[in-house]
Amino acid sequence: MAQMTLIQAVTNALDLELARDKNVLVFGEDVGHNGGVFRVTEGLQKKYGVNRVFDTPLAESGIGGLATGLAIQGFRPVAEIQFFGFVFETMDQIAGQASRMRYRTNGRYHCPIVYRAPYGGGIKAPELHSDNLEGLFAQSPGMKVVIPSNPYDAKGLLISAIRDDDPVLFLEHMKLHRSFRQEVPDEAYTVPLGVANVVREGKDVTVVAYGAMVQTALKAADEWAKSAGIQAEVIDLRTISPLDTETIVKSVKKTHRAVVVQEAQKSAGIAAEVVAQINENALYHLEAPVIRIAPPDTVFAFPMIEDEWIPDVNTVKHGLETVMSL
């Protein structure tokens, strides 16, 4: 066991899967010689050669199309989009092409591709680097969308994603990249896709979150427990598509109240889907409306005010207070 940051856990997962399966390929802008702008692929080109870990020309649509072509010929591409805001450039190759391949060919071809991308606010990156665009892909049928909140899950989920036979978007929150370390086993292990995790047990209210918001929710829950004596149960979704409705509903049936926290702007997002699932499956168990804690429906805030725009511990506590008072 070693203490690893989220970045190290991802590097470790890529290393193990490259070693295990010769069909795994890792590529993208600056991922080869330079080891990626965040050093996630550091050392991998040296170890596995330029045919398996390589730099591409600067063209996201090219990267996406390359992945699709390689995938239908039996490879398992792990393609990096340098920053998630650049994904619009290859939106068609992911949401219009790879995710539809199985359907389009009636199962003759499929695309076991992982698209990795750093995303998320709090590090004052320029425009179109931090945007939370996960909802666009959760709305793309045929795609799975995975967002780890800690190093242990990052490794296990990435290994599952690489071994999965369908396209998976794997998002790495930049604020979590090196913010804390965790015990991570040296050997390969999997964390299943589509299964949420109860990261804090509680009986009074359910807090559903994912990505960096899990840490924020946990902190708010701990503070709220101390100041108000209320025990919040915190669920880390881990995979936002497919959503683990069962875990959410089970918790809500126990607590009768829920808030959903997301870093993406409020409307038509993952939080809205979670609320809909609760309505469809546990409405009569609710004692209060389920509320969303999310930034307003604007473009992702410029760096100068991103910390004020993204939900923080206080806004989560405010949400908890609201839902408990209803």
């Binding site: 450039e89 680097h129 930034p295 429906d297 806004t315 506590k317």
Partner: protein, 359 residues
């Protein structure tokens, strides 16, 4: 045996050799002594400003910054060939051209810090704020150029990208559209040798980036991007052609960035050698142009010092102005989304304010 599959490299335009002597007298642009001095002034001013900006970024006083040293001729001599009413669509590194095209430096600093007012280009200044998405401005340049053509305005759209940018689909689409519609556009590819860490030879098998014009059916030319007069001469001709309704041009300026890709953690020693850096420093655009001007008695040490002093003062002044500008706010961000704020956003604004009152 000869082959029909040979790629034909575009010619390489140079006016001044690295020692400042004239290599091609026929190409010497028609610039007055004052204009020559002004161009030199801008390059020295910009080098000084760049060095200050790098320090300020390290101190946390600026935010996002992509250093420009090494590319002064490529940037400033090309902008020098435009008129005020011509429209510039810059990439994220192309701050100097925008400032000399009228963008106040303090707004460039606010842009760097991630303040919305940075991109609020003043009325009458013909630029877009710097583009983050590589190549997106190339396609937009064709749109701007078409607007000029449709409105019968004798204006030109000038856009910049890098060697990496010339790999994007948007690049080919933009250049091709401009050719197809015979638009008044000039596309400048500043080939500074590395797209972050990836060298040009891994970017493309094309011998030059200028030859990418061939498939679009427009003129493409490669120019010594460390040679201010060559960059000016080529850009001026392209701009004049565009203005005269003769269509677009693709220009590749062969240049080098001395610094890192940006100040956000890039370490050039990981992907390029000291030898390579020294090789490019010999071709330095400022040294070369200074030698030429000195040979014509057009530039003195006191001119040099004045440009440096002005550069420093401009940065100090702009920083002061940026510091005193009101801080951006989330309610303002909400207000700026639409011409008329939808009811839902109005409610979210109230909700936001209420949620932030809790401590």
């Amino acid at each position: 045996m000869s082959t029909v599959l040979e790629t034909k490299p575009a010619s390489f335009v140079q006016v001044l050799s690295p020692d400042g002597s004239v290599v091609d007298r026929d190409l010497l642009p028609n610039l007055s002594d004052d204009q020559l001095r002004q161009l030199m002034y801008r390059m020295v001013f910009t080098r000084t400003w760049d060095q200050r900006a790098v320090k300020l970024t390290r101190q946390g006083r600026l935010g996002f910054y992509a250093p420009v040293s090494g590319q002064e001729a490529s940037m400033l001599a090309s902008e020098f060939a435009t008129n005020e009413e011509d429209f510039i669509l810059p990439g994220y590194r192309d701050i100097p051209q925008c400032v000399f095209h009228g963008w106040p430096m303090y707004q460039a600093f606010l842009y760097s810090r991630g303040h919305q007012h940075g991109g609020e280009v003043p009325e009458g200044v013909n630029i877009l704020p710097p583009q983050i998405i590589i190549g997106a401005q190339i396609v937009q340049a064709s749109g701007v150029a078409m607007a000029f053509k449709l409105k019968g305005e004798r204006r030109v759209a000038l856009t910049y990208t890098g060697d990496g940018g010339s790999s994007q689909g948007d690049f080919y689409e933009g250049v091709n559209f401009a050719g197809a519609f015979k638009l008044p556009a000039v596309f400048i590819v500043q080939n500074n040798q590395f797209a972050i860490s990836v060298p040009v030879r891994l970017q493309t098998a094309a011998e030059t980036l200028a030859q990418k014009a061939v498939a679009a059916g427009i003129p493409g030319i490669q120019v010594d991007g460390m040679d201010a007069l060559a960059v000016y001469a080529v850009t001026k001709e392209a701009v004049d052609r565009a203005r005269a309704g003769e269509g677009p041009t693709l220009i590749e300026t062969v240049t080098f960035r001395y610094g890192p890709h940006t100040m956000s953690g890039d370490d050039p020693t990981r992907y390029r050698t000291k030898d390579l850096e020294s090789e490019w420093e010999i071709r330095d655009p400022l040294v070369r142009f200074r030698k030429y001007l000195e040979s014509k008695n057009l530039w003195t040490e006191s001119d040099e010092n004045q440009a440096i002093e002005d550069g420093k003062n401009a940065v100090t002044e702009a920083l002061k102005q940026a510091d005193s500008h009101p801080k951006m706010s989330v309610p303002h961000l909400i207000d700026s989304m639409f011409a008329e704020l939808p009811a839902k956003l109005k409610a979210q604004k109230e909700e936001y304010l209420a949620s932030r009152e809790v401590k």
